[in-house]
Structure formats: structure tokens, C-alpha cells
């Protein structure tokens, strides 16, 4: 789960991480009031969308007085912000963060994430703050310093010193940095983050401050943080994906025209792959889960067919312990209730697959039975061409 910068900063402030004074706003008027409340100019107006690269896209501006603040806020609020992470359509800016302007002496980069290979956390810092870190990693990997932290023993003072030395700090700012790193790690652990990234982390005089903040949460851990519900911004999510999550379906929209309905994530990916291999383009990733009954299939049809690009649907269910004739009955019922008109290619495998195939053929609906995976993909690709 992703959250906005202002929410991430509020979370970090709760762990005493130094962040600039600031206020979120959901209108231009609110933004102006928020700026005046800060008690002095300059202030920074920052577009709040879930994608990165906002500065480059024109979503972050400095205002030296009230007039400028109003001007910039109206410019950014409601704009279609395009960054390298939003795709060409961009994302509408519906929230702003107005912050006090900070004196920046140095810009750094800091992040904490999981090292899957070691099952430990890795804390990364770089002197190349404010830059695209993937570019730094590609061009000058020596400028990124990584410190591995064993969560069993936790963050120790020597980790903090190693990181602060790597940034070339000394004296009071060194102490400020080690304290800041320790708090960042605590926030990362206790809040069940899957990523905590500060870019830039700045030195302002002797103080180390998180000028930006990006936090992603581990979806599997959301159950122990019921308060995160309030942080979810549905405007940032794809409407069809929200609809799918309500029906406990795992759905990701893609650009093709062959809708996919599959049980199991691995098989769903493999189904997308085989469609592509046969010259087609998958319209989505969709895992209906183990059960695949009439309700879940109906919900899946609804979501797939809401995408007007979809010209055919390929259903690929490996029955396993669930009997195929039951799945077939569910598919037929759902195809009727959802008034499905596009060609549907159904491949059911497992117990009673023969009975299931006959039921589908006898249904009188636009259902094509496929024998195996290749047959299904070939038929689905042919259906969208013809």
C-alpha cells in the first residue's frame, strides 16, 4: 500500500524524525491559509500524488509571498502531473502539501528496504541526494553505501555511525544524522513498511531533516494497523482495481484486448505470457482465487468487461480439488447473469473436465471450449483478430 508524502511525514514525525513544518490542503484557498499559518515565507507548494519525479514534472514550486503562493497553488492544484512513474496520461493533483522553505546546505539520499536474499533489512545512503537513485546506482554504484541490519539484533549505534561517516558528516550534524537514522529504522520496523525512502534527506545547518518522504506498507501486515485505512487515497488507485479488491479478486489492468480469468497468480502470469507468445495482448492480470464459483466468476466478468478494449475473454482454471463441472456451472451462470457477448474461450482442467466441457458446449452461449493451454491461447488470439 502506498501513501502520500504528507502522510508519510506525519508518520515519521510520530517517531521524532525531523521534518519541515507543513500542512496538507485539498483546495487553493486551503493551501493559501496553510501557507499563512506557517508564519513566514518562503513556502513550498508540493503536489501530492503517489508517483515519484514530481519536481521534474513541475509539481513542486517555491513561493516567496502570498500572491505567488496563490498563483502556484492554483497552477498545481488540479493539474495533470506527468512524471516518469505516472505514464503519459499523468495523474490529477487533488491534494497539496504546503511546507516552510528550508535552507539546504547538503542533499543526501536514504532508504530502508528488505534484502530478500539475506532476509535482513538494508539501509542505504548516498551523497547524491535529490537525484534519481536508480540512475546513481547504474552510473556510480560506489556512491551508494549499504549497511545490512539483522532485525533480530536491530539497529545499533555502529550502524548509525557507519551511515553518517559515509555521508562525510562530522560534529553536531553527525550526531543529528545518527539519531535520525535510528528513528527512521524504528519507524520502518514498527510501521511494517516495505519501503521507506527519503530523497532528499538534507543538512540544514547542524540539523538533518527529511525534506521528502516515501513510505510503502507491507500489504500482508495491514491487519495489525487498522488506522492505515484512513490513509488510503482511492483517487490514486485504478477504479477497476478497487472494484476487484472488494470482491477479493487480484486484478491489474493492462493495455491489451484479451481479458484473462485464471485461478492462481503464477498460472495467471503464465496465461498472460502464452497469449503474448501467440501474438495477442493480455488486457489484465486476474487471479480469481482457489474457489472459482459463480459469484467470483461473475464479479470477474464484470471487472474484465468494464474495460471496453476487451474483445475476448480467456478463462483458464486448473480445477485441482474443486471439481470442473462445478466451475463450469459457475461460468455458465455468470455468463448469463452478466449478459456476456464477447467470445469466451474456456479451458478447464482437472477432475470431471470432460463433463465440464460438455456442459459448456450445451449452454447455448458464446463459449468456446479449449483442450489445453496452447489451444486456448490460439483460439483467444484468433477471436480478437477475426
Amino acid at each position: 500500500m502506498k501513501i502520500h508524502e504528507y502522510q508519510a511525514k506525519q508518520l515519521l514525525a510520530g517517531y521524532d524524525v525531523p521534518v519541515p513544518k507543513g500542512k496538507p490542503a485539498q483546495s487553493v484557498d486551503e493551501a493559501v491559509r496553510a501557507g499563512l499559518d506557517l508564519g513566514g515565507f518562503p513556502v513550498v507548494v508540493k503536489a501530492q500524488i503517489h508517483a515519484g519525479g514530481r519536481g521534474k514534472g513541475g509539481g513542486v514550486k517555491l513561493a516567496k509571498n502570498e500572491t505567488e503562493l496563490k498563483e502556484l497553488a492554483s497552477q498545481i492544484f488540479g493539474m495533470q502531473l506527468v512524471t516518469h512513474q505516472t505514464g503519459p496520461a499523468g495523474q490529477t493533483v487533488q491534494r497539496l502539501l504546503v511546507e516552510q522553505g528550508m535552507k539546504i546546505d547538503q542533499e543526501f539520499y536514504a532508504s530502508i528496504l528488505l534484502d530478500r536474499a539475506q532476509s535482513k533489512d538494508v539501509f542505504m545512503v548516498s551523497t547524491e541526494g535529490g537525484m534519481d537513485i536508480e540512475e546513481v546506482a547504474a552510473k556510480t554504484p560506489e556512491k551508494i553505501v549499504k549497511v545490512t541490519i539483522d532485525p533480530a539484533s536491530g539497529f545499533q549505534p555502529h550502524h548509525g555511525r557507519q551511515l553518517a561517516f559515509a555521508l562525510g558528516l562530522s560534529g553536531k550534524s553527525f550526531k543529528s544524522a545518527t539519531a535520525c537514522f535510528e528513528k527512521l529504522y524504528r519507524a520502518y520496523r514498527e510501521a511494517d513498511c516495505s519501503l521507506l525512502e527519503i530523497n532528499p534527506l538534507i543538512r540544514s545547518g547542524d540539523e538533518i531533516i527529511a525534506l521528502d518522504a516515501k513510505v510503502n506498507f507491507d500489504d500482508n501486515a495491514l491487519y495489525r494497523h487498522p488506522d492505515y485505512d484512513a490513509l488510503r487515497d482511492l483517487a490514486e488507485e485504478d477504479p477497476s482495481e478497487i472494484e476487484a479488491s472488494k470482491s477479493n479478486l487480484n486484478f491489474i489492468k493492462l493495455d491489451g484486448n484479451i481479458g484473462c480469468m485464471v485461478n492462481g497468480a503464477g498460472l495467471a502470469m503464465a496465461t498472460m505470457d502464452i497469449i503474448k507468445l501467440h501474438g495477442g495482448e493480455p488486457a489484465n492480470f486476474l487471479d480469481v482465487g482457489g474457489g472459482a464459483n459463480a459469484q467470483s466468476v461473475a464479479a470477474a466478468f464484470k471487472i474484465i468487461l468494464a474495460d471496453k478494449n476487451v474483445k475476448a475473454v480467456m478463462i483458464n482454471i486448473f480445477g485441482g480439488i474443486v471439481r470442473c463441472d462445478r466451475v463450469a456451472a459457475g461460468v455458465i451462470e455468470a455468463a448469463k447473469s452478466e449478459h456476456v457477448t464477447v467470445p469466451v474461450i474456456v479451458r478447464l482442467e482437472g477432475n470431471n473436465a470432460d463433463v465440464a466441457a460438455q456442459m459448456l458446449r450445451d449452454s447455448g452461449l458464446n463459449l468456446t471450449v479449449a483442450g489445453d493451454l496452447t489451444d486456448a491461447a490460439t483460439k483467444a488470439c484468433a477471436a480478437v483478430k477475426g
Binding site: 503464477g266 498460472l267 502470469m269
Partner: protein, 310 residues
């Protein structure tokens, strides 16, 4: 023989009285798996599935049944505790089926595993099956047949798909292992490939990976230098967009890493026969085995020919 699960494996089911635990215990029993007990705290002294004694703790279950393996069906908030309890009780083989265990919990479990005598498979996995001997998992038993081909996968239904392709071509399986789709699995490809390498009754292995992480690459390094048997591979997610979690918590291309392209390249460098299509996994193995068997007759040592062309 087989790996992990054999005739001496005595199994308990943690969470046996829950709906999943009870249903799959029945399926395991019907497959003649040696399920000797179950654990549900507070329900000790009762019977599950008519024949299986229930205990309050893993320690108690081990004490009275001599169990050396456990399969876990408890819900995510309690799954890590169940795994830790099994580790503390000296269970040698732990299979965690539960989907949705927080990463932070798995980091703790991984730490507990280091230096313990336990091996963990999962979580978020279909489990393992040694056809003809037993199953510790949720896979449909009927698609399997006894044989000498090992299988390891991060996926569930895609594994069934591959198994069926093998069985349809008369290629039976020694043991099939689903390691699960989470970012921190108890065991990885490498851990299991080492076991397959040592197992005299496994003569080839199917390895099914997916996008995310670098576990396939690590296993490929090992296969290149140490593995003595032919391997057929497949990577799911060749068309997956970066930055999106494809169902499995671990299936995500992050920071440009973990792409299918990189994994396929690493596998090909290791001499693994990579099937481009998920529909050709069984056929590829059939071709590879045909070739190896032929060369075996001429006294070949059974290592895979890396110049193999169909």
C-alpha cells in the same frame, strides 16, 4: 526414494480443526499419508477427522506420537507463532500453507531457523508431495504419478499444470515441492536443488520460477557448477509490468531487478532447458529425457548436454 517426505515421515497438522486444516487433513489421509496427530490449542484430547488425536501444543503432539513433520494451516496473524512453536519443538520438516504472513514475521522466523534442526517450506505454498508415499499440502493428488522427475516451483496452480503435462507424457515425479510466492520463503530453489542433487531416485528436475527477487539466479549458479542432472525451467511473468505486485507478494519487478529476461538468461547460461511457453514444460522434459537416456546407454554420466537443440 524421494526428498523431504518418505515412509518414515510422521506428520502432525497445526490448525487441524479449522475448515482448511480439517478438509486437507482428510485429503491427506485419503492419500494414505501418515498423519499421526493434530494441534489446536484448547482442543487437546479430542479427535479430528474421526481418527486423528488432537493436542494442545506441538511439544505434546511430538511427545506422544513421535511426529517429525508438521503442516500449518493457521490464519496469518498466528502463522509465525505456529512456525516458531514447531521449530522450538524440534520438528524437522515444517510446511506452512498459510497465505498473507507479514514480511516482518517471516524475518523473525528465518532468524529462528538459523542454527535450528528445522527446515521450513512456505509460507503461501501448495506444499509437497511424494507420489505413492504421501502428501503434505493442498495439491490435487490425482494428477501425480510415481517416478523420478523432481519438481520445484514458486507457484500453485501453475505447478499443477506442469505436473499434469509430465504425467500425461508418462513422466512420473519423485517429489514435487512448492516453495511459495512470498518474498521470504523458508526454503529457496537452491536449498531444494541441493536435496534433488543428492537424491539417487531423482534423475531430472523441473524448476518453475517467476519474476521478483534473485532466487532463480542463485539456483542457476549452483546448477551451472554442481548439479549433475538435467533441468527444465520456466519463468512466469514475462509480460508483467514493473512495479506491480502480480498476486504473489514476492512477484514484483522492483528497481529494474527481478525481470523474467534476467532470470531466463541466467538459467540458459547454466545449461537449463528453458521452455518459452508454459504449455511446453512437459514436452521439453520428454525431449531432454529422451536425449539423456540415449546418451546414458552409451555410458554418458547423465549430465545435461548444453548444446541441446530440439
Amino acid at each position: 526414494m524421494s526428498i523431504l517426505l518418505n515412509k518414515n515421515t510422521k506428520i502432525i497438522v497445526q490448525g487441524i480443526t479449522g475448515s482448511e486444516g480439517s478438509f486437507h487433513s482428510q485429503q491427506m489421509l485419503e492419500y494414505k499419508t501418515r498423519v499421526v496427530g493434530g494441534v489446536t490449542p484448547g482442543k487437546g484430547g479430542t479427535m479430528a477427522n474421526d481418527t486423528v488425536p488432537v493436542f494442545n501444543s506441538v511439544r505434546e503432539a511430538v511427545g506422544s506420537t513421535g511426529a517429525n513433520a508438521s503442516i500449518i494451516f493457521v490464519p496469518p496473524p498466528f502463522a509465525a507463532d505456529a512456525m516458531l512453536e514447531a521449530i522450538d519443538s524440534g520438528i524437522e520438516l515444517i510446511i506452512a500453507i498459510t497465505e498473507g504472513v507479514p514480511v516482518r514475521d517471516m524475518v523473525t522466523v528465518k532468524h529462528a531457523l538459523r542454527g535450528s534442526s528445522s527446515r521450513l517450506i512456505g509460507p503461501n505454498c501448495p506444499g509437497i508431495i511424494t507420489p505413492g508415499v504421501g502428501k503434505m499440502g493442498i495439491m490435487p493428488a490425482f494428477i501425480h504419478r510415481e517416478g523420478k522427475c523432481g519438481l520445484i516451483s514458486r507457484s500453485g496452480t501453475l505447478t499443477y499444470e506442469a505436473v499434469k503435462q509430465l504425467s500425461d507424457r508418462g513422466i512420473g515425479q519423485s517429489t514435487c515441492v512448492g516453495i511459495g510466492g512470498d518474498p521470504i520463503p523458508g526454503s529457496n530453489f537452491l536449498d531444494i536443488m541441493i536435496l534433488f542433487n543428492q537424491d539417487p531416485e531423482t534423475n531430472a528436475v523441473v524448476m518453475i520460477g517467476e519474476i521478483g527477487g534473485s532466487a532463480e539466479e542463485e539456483a542457476a549458479e549452483y546448477i551451472k557448477s554442481e548439479f549433475k542432472k538435467p533441468v527444465v525451467g520456466f519463468i512466469a511473468g514475462q509480460t508483467a509490468p514493473p512495479g506491480r505486485r502480480m498476486g504473489h507478494a514476492g512477484a514484483i519487478i522492483a528497481g529494474g531487478k527481478g525481470t523474467a529476461k534476467e532470470k531466463v538468461a541466467a538459467m540458459e547460461r547454466a545449461g537449463i532447458h528453458v521452455s518459452k511457453s508454459p504449455a511446453d514444460i512437459g514436452a521439453t522434459m520428454a525431449r531432454v529425457l529422451g536425449k539423456v537416456n540415449k546418451t546414458d546407454n552409451k555410458g554418458h554420466d547423465g549430465t545435461h548436454a548444453d548444446d541441446y537443440q530440439a
